[in-house]
Amino acid sequence: MTLATPRTSILPDRITTPTLRTFLRSVPSVDEVGARERVAALSTRSIKRESKRDALDLIVRMIDLTTLEGKDTAGKVAQMSAKAIRPDPLDASVPSVAAVCVYPNMVPHAVQATEGTSVKVASVATYFPSGLADTDIKVVEVSRVVKQGADEVDMVIDRGAFLAGEYFKVFDEIRRVKDACGEAHLKVILETGELGNLDNVRRASMLAMAAGGDFIKTSTGKITPAATLPDTLIMLEAIRDFYEATGVMVGMKPAGGIKTSKDAIKYLVVLNETLGTEWMSPDWFRFGASSLLNDVLMQIRWLATGRYWSSDYFTKD
């Protein structure tokens, strides 16, 4: 099997578990205390009021509006998609979100509900959320959602294999899934809450990017903690190192647990200070969230009208 060329430039000639181990050991270690201090310092930044509306709009456009419940139905997906397309019925100036994110079986419903709009359909796949299935089965699942019209695939890595040091297994699976994606964008979920420390987060980020991930993503949302600022900082630093080494831009998606505009702005501050303006776009940064959207809408309404509106004025879908 051959790889897309630019990604191999930082990898050893022969990719095996031992050579990947050597590669991952060359990734700089992380000091957790220092990483926490850095995000705490960045969290005190405040942005200009004139920039605020733009920042809130950007957050909306970066949202992958998500429903990942066992009780999801075609009706639920249709309603959520309507919200994704037109988040605020009273204010047409609010842009659409980036995508809706659903389970594989819901992809046809999501495709239908978003047809003709800018809203993309993302599907979790690869035996989300555990990822504990045979690679062949995962590849079949991915091919199927792509065929049904998913624009983006959110895969999970095999954390067990990663923690057991079976790096080739993890790498090869990402690579095969990427092939199965074809034109669809691949987001690779590391499930940072299960990786145990930031050294692992950084190494898994490098592995996922080298194997072909278009985005790296923190969490499934099914594990606590989900996205955190320190995890995000470390992943963004890995993206920067990867870009410097290969010239390939990779996107970032924190997912789960980001509920307020204030929190989301902190993520954008960390993004802006780590990767710079180029990444400040939905092409390169997404929020995996459901309840965040209404909080952002409330803030936009407050900026527009000068007062806070009750949550009764915002749709719950």
Partner: protein, 492 residues
């Protein structure tokens, strides 16, 4: 349908941080300040005043009395009387209550004090607010706790106060240096005559107000403002039992020679040229933050600033590249802006000294890098500066610059790192970054520095002693050790 949806800003979004300027309304400054002697503000017998300005705008803030030798004499007399009559005989538990009360009042007025510290000294408000003031209150709380436990701090002896302490403090951390000196002196039962720096006298005067309001007995804490002459009068006054000085090594040497032959006890906390050592296995991105914090914290006006960066040669270029791109994101400007990372240089004189040393670095052949940032057109500012290709023999590798200027050297082996790090007349602090625990311990053992930080930098705690080796001074401040310079005993 998508076409109906408006898009408001072009992508990707380029945003600006708010100029989020802390209000100074909270301050109620007098036009003129007298000397704080015997519990009251009094006019100086010298009849002289000097102005103090905001270094970020060069605006006049207030006029402050310049204490002459007669004024210093009054202050020492008041301190002596308070020591003999009130503070010396007072039980430790009662002294503790007074010190606790001051600590509480500092906390209550911490926002006001932080704003004034920034206004008078030029440091970023986020540092005054998040670092200086919590530590100031913390030192008073910490030493209040020792006041009634001195017998337990030094078992087997009966520790006694010395008497009157004459203390001279610098302008880089005006209130924090005050706290480091005043809190242990008072806890040990001494009374104090304090001389704040001439460019930053205001917060010490507010602290004098706090002392008066808190009911601290008159004469226990006295503030005499002025310049070098006033400081000299304080340290050479014959009825001062103990001298504590923080400042430059040159002045420290002068004081030491002035006190030769007297029985005054003294402690000196002087300059530094700290080595910040980065090994190849360091957590690089956090090390970058540590280096930035080490040299640009308080515009580099820090005696323990990590001003000599020693980077292992095999990561040197990569590390310097990362450092340069990080430098570009530093925000230099109005110290009152909460988003400001690097504030104003404390005075015109200091700015001139930094400029002179930076010029020498360039003419000696080191390579300079400064980020492309715009400095305010008023006030004293200096761009964050890196020097690469620095040799040990360059002045910028030897002399304390006391500004936002980092000299970068490389090393090949741990032994070479130690040799270069110790190759300085100073020995105040050092930093080590490595993932290897055993190397941290080995380095800490080898480095001739009072403080060695591992995988972090510029961390302070009231319970942790601080002080220098060699020409960085002697005596320790902070912790149980910080009580020692203020006590005497006869071995029993």
């Amino acid at each position: 349908m998508a076409t109906e949806i408006a898009t408001t800003a072009p992508l990707p979004l380029k945003w600006e941080y708010a100029s989020s300027v802390e209000s100074t309304d909270i301050l109620d400054l007098d036009a003129k300040y007298g000397l704080f002697i015997n519990g009251k503000f009094v006019k100086p017998k010298s009849k002289k005043y000097f102005p103090t300005i905001n270094p970020a705008t060069e605006e006049h803030l207030a006029d402050v009395a310049e204490a002459g030798s007669a004024d210093v004499d009054s202050a020492v007399k008041a301190a002596r009387a308070a020591f003999v009559d009130v503070w010396g005989p007072m039980p430790g538990a009662e002294r503790a209550k007074h010190i606790f009360r001051i600590a509480r009042m500092i906390q209550e007025r911490s926002r006001e004090l932080a704003v004034l510290e920034t206004l008078d000294g030029g440091k970023p408000i986020k540092e005054a607010r998040d670092v200086d003031l919590p530590l100031v209150a913390g030192h008073f709380f910490y030493y209040a706790g020792w006041a009634d436990k001195l017998d337990y701090a030094f078992p087997g002896v009966r520790p006694q106060p010395l008497g009157v302490a004459g203390q001279v403090i610098p302008w880089n951390f005006p209130l924090m240096m005050l706290a480091w000196k005043v809190a242990p002196a008072l806890a040990a039962g001494n009374t104090v005559v304090l001389k704040p720096a001439e460019t930053t006298p205001l917060t010490a005067l507010i602290l004098a107000q706090i002392a008066a309001e808190s009911g601290l007995p008159p004469g226990v804490f006295n503030v005499v403002t002025g310049a070098g002459g006033t400081g000299s009068a304080v340290v050479t006054h014959e009825d001062v039992d103990k001298v504590a000085f923080t400042g430059s090594t040159a002045v420290g040497k002068m004081i030491q020679s002035q006190l030769a032959g007297t029985d005054k006890k003294m402690t000196l906390e002087l300059g530094g040229k700290a080595a910040h050592v980065i090994f190849e296995d360091a957590p690089l991105d956090q090390a970058i933050e540590g280096v930035i914090n080490g040299i640009f914290f308080n515009q580099g006006h820090v005696c323990c600033a990590g001003s000599r960066l020693l980077v292992q040669e095999n990561i040197h270029d990569r590390f310097v590249d990362k450092l340069k791109s990080r430098l570009a994101t530093l925000r230099v400007g109005d110290p009152l802006d909460k988003n400001t990372d690097v504030g104003a240089i404390n005075s015109r004189a200091q700015l001139d000294r930094i400029t002179e040393l930076v010029d020498s670095g360039r003419s000696e052949g080191a390579e300079m890098f400064q980020p492309d940032c715009v400095l305010p057109n008023r006030g004293f500012f200096f761009k964050p500066t890196l020097f690469t290709n620095v040799a040990q023999s360059h002045r910028i590798a030897q002399e304390e610059i006391f500004g936002p200027v980092l000299s970068i050297l490389s090393f090949r082996t741990p032994e070479e790192a130690v040799e270069k790090a110790n190759n300085t007349p100073y020995g105040l602090s050092a930093g080590v970054w490595t993932s290897k625990g055993s190397r941290i311990l080995w380095m800490a053992d080898q480095l001739k520095a009072g403080v060695v930080w591992a995988n972090t930098y510029n961390k302070f705690d009231p319970a942790s002693p601080f002080g220098g080796y060699k020409e960085s001074g002697f005596g320790r401040e902070g912790g149980r050790h910080g009580l020692l310079p203020y006590l005497k005993w006869i071995e029993s």
